[in-house]
Symmetry: C2
Subunit: 460 residues, 2 copies
């Protein structure tokens, strides 16, 4: 019977029977009269041990099988009570599907993460990256599943956009004009009317504004896809291409987003713990000691809420000397976030931020000084989610745009949403790759992205 490791591992009862598996060799320990192959078929984190004996006619070739080779193995499934794995395969026939020469870079030894990044096309074949990318897939599914259960409609915000209005600054320019010699206007400037879209075009930095369009028609929607930042920063948490989840809800306020995002974070963590027990145990043992305890604590806690003002007061009264002085009109530094999470004893939303340091679309509170924004801080990661109630009042929004040097003309369609049947509405953004870092304990975003794009690096 042709089968897979996933099917065998998920059988409630293992019966001794003849099975055929296809997979890749992780290790081959040849003895004189027998040998052991660790075979992984990609459908499960675990490998299966294949025992082969001298009686097999190609025994001599089998002894020489190298790591990385692809095999077809037929044999008897033999239960191994008390052993690490519940069963092994006693081979009756092993045939080579695809050889692997001696220079195969992924040998059964410890490779540095940097080495593996340079071999991003082979690193999914290691334990670490098999675990990372399987959990990534599970987390991805969990996001869609959560929002389906909550009756949100999915909408894909566009990647290409000509509205440069958000003022995010660090944009990738998209063009079909010849850089060598672009067409020019009489004044010497590049003539973008001759570009593919007839206008200067770039990659999206956020799908929020377009998601708002859909929220004003379907009430609750989410967009989840790649976004781009041409930021020239080489940190462990920045990538040039990363995934963002952005739900947006009409007839909703900031409190609704606090409720929704707390429920979502817990759902995502629970799903990963439930659906990837082997992978999570691996991370807990080899990547971040105490990871599962950290996540369980999040599941068990009620997320707290502090206003920015309360948070700053807490920081000012702290018996700690911070490198950066906390201030009423200032952003929180990483050291502040850490202190707050520790003091509160768990995840905490910081709400009502000074309007000067937040985006133009956030709703101005009655105090005229703060906006209805929220950041969710979690132990061990700092900010995980940022969101806000959106300014639904036409005049206030125009005023804010002027104050922040954004041309209302450029976003006429966005203002239309406040002109025709405007509603209180709110949403938030979750950096998907950072969430994956949080649940796996992986410290570098380059190791959570299948093919990370960072300054000077766009390989594969």
């Amino acid at each position: 019977m042709k089968t897979t490791m996933r099917r065998l591992m998920h059988q409630s009862k293992h019966t001794e029977t003849t099975v055929t598996l296809h997979g890749w060799v992780r290790n081959n320990r040849a003895q004189k009269a027998f040998g052991f192959i660790d075979l992984n078929d990609g459908t499960h984190f675990n490998t299966v041990q294949v025992v082969y004996e001298e009686r097999l006619e190609n025994f001599k070739q089998l002894q020489k099988i190298r790591v990385g080779s692809a095999l077809e193995v037929t044999g008897q499934l033999v239960l191994t009570p008390g052993a690490k794995q519940p069963f092994e395969i006693k081979a009756e026939a092993i045939s080579m599907i695809g050889d692997s020469p001696e220079d195969y870079p992924i040998q059964p030894k410890r490779h540095t993460r940097e080495f593996l990044r340079q071999h991003a096309h082979l690193r999914p074949r290691t334990n670490l990256f098999a675990a990372v990318f399987r959990v990534r897939s599970i987390l991805h599914h969990a996001i869609h599943e959560f929002f389906k259960q909550e009756h949100f409609m999915h909408v894909a915000s566009p990647i290409l956009t000509a509205s440069d209005a958000e003022g995010a600054g660090e944009l990738f320019h998209v063009t079909t004009l010849p850089l060598d010699n672009p067409p020019r206007l009489k004044d010497g400037n590049v003539d973008y009317s001759q570009d593919f879209f007839g206008a200067k075009t770039h990659l999206t930095v956020s799908g929020q504004l377009q998601a708002e369009i859909f929220a004003q028609a379907f009430r609750q929607v989410y967009t989840f896809g790649p976004t781009f930042r041409a930021e020239n920063s080489n940190t462990t948490t920045h990538a040039s291409e990363f995934w963002m989840l952005e739900p947006e809800v009409a007839f909703a306020d900031l409190n609704d987003m606090i409720t929704l995002s707390e429920k979502m974070v817990k759902y995502l963590i629970q799903t990963v713990l439930d659906e990837a027990p082997e992978e999570m145990a691996f991370f807990d043992q080899f990547v971040e000691s105490g990871l599962k305890t950290k996540l369980q604590k999040v599941l068990d806690s009620d997320f707290k809420v502090l206003t920015h003002q309360e948070a700053v007061a807490l920081l000012k009264s702290a018996e700690v000397s911070f490198e950066h002085a906390p201030g009423d009109n200032k952003d929180l530094a990483t050291e502040h976030e850490k202190y707050l999470v520790k003091t509160v004893g768990g995840p905490v939303y910081i709400i009502n931020w000074p309007k000067e340091i937040k985006a133009f679309y956030m709703r101005v509170n009655d105090d005229q000084k703060t906006v209805a924004a929220m950041d969710l801080l979690v132990p061990g990661a700092g900010e995980l989610i940022g969101g806000s109630q959106r300014e639904e009042r036409y005049d206030v929004l125009v005023e804010r745009m002027h104050a922040m040097n954004i041309e209302p003309e450029e976003l006429a369609w966005y203002l239309d949403l406040r002109k025709y049947g405007s509603t209180p509405h709110a949403g938030y953004g979750l950096g998907f790759d950072r969430m994956l870092m949080y649940v796996t304990g992986i410290e570098n975003i380059r190791d959570t992205l299948p093919f990370p794009r960072t300054p000077k690096n766009c390989k594969f």
Copy 2:
């Protein structure tokens, strides 16, 4: 009780009770002593009729409420047996959330599709586009659900790529260099080493090659996301940014892809019919007469398989004069596809295509003339899916690359997959937007994309 139309419509039994709904006005027919508001809250295709009477204290204002306004309505749910809708709301209180001035572009009358495209930020508020985008969301979920059920792992292929090797030609260039005055090498050429990624970079045309990397580690994977084509063609089936689904399976051949894709197409159609009955009835009535019958026939049929040679023989023996003569080494024209689908009487896979007209990565058959490729033709749409078994033999692949002027050096990582544990593997691509066109009957891809990007058009 605050509720939504979705919840009310999905109740098995409607009990008379007081409810509060939030939504937007689709129509307001004011009479002398009472009036009717058609309210849509975005959670369901149907609107609900709200009846308001003179006794309400703001009756005079209610009579003037304009289309597009956002309201809060509290009232009694009254069953209306025999009527089109199972219930209506007898208003006890109606309050204005967001007004809509008289120039609101979406009036309760017939608008042209072209007009609505120009108001893409408001068109989701029409019946037609509410139906299109809800079905789009359902279809999107169904794809993820299908592959989850089939135990495929999701991997997001990157959008940004520096490998220009597929020879697809029509690429969008991504850069942070100043077009005005880019840095140049001594020979006058643009110095791309100073660009953000240190190399000439563009938007992906397909996620397949990277998906193959993951299939060689996880056995069965799929990528599903935006892809880009800078093709200057203004047809009803081409967009510059569109979504592609691309599954990829190791230890699999072309037959496995035929089995998988037939199962998938049927699953997607069945899901849409099950989960969007109101929307599908609407399309059947107003967009494509006979749509549901067409789809049901696909569900009921066994997809046939013809070799390209058999197909051409059929065409040559046809008592029809084609504009383009069919030929053994030629692609099929649209008129050929139509004839074949009609003659076969349903969906048909055309397999084993002449290698000259297919991509370098498709597996060469034993006849040395054809490749193990497939196109799925369906009634009423022509090609829906294209796929192939991939060339897993290192030497053959290199030879094919040379023959097609592709530099093997450029795709060294892709060749590595054939060097280390290569396996027979196969995959296919489904244009998601075309699939949506097929199940909704919408004739123009611009009307299936939330914000279509086409030559000279990148608004919103």
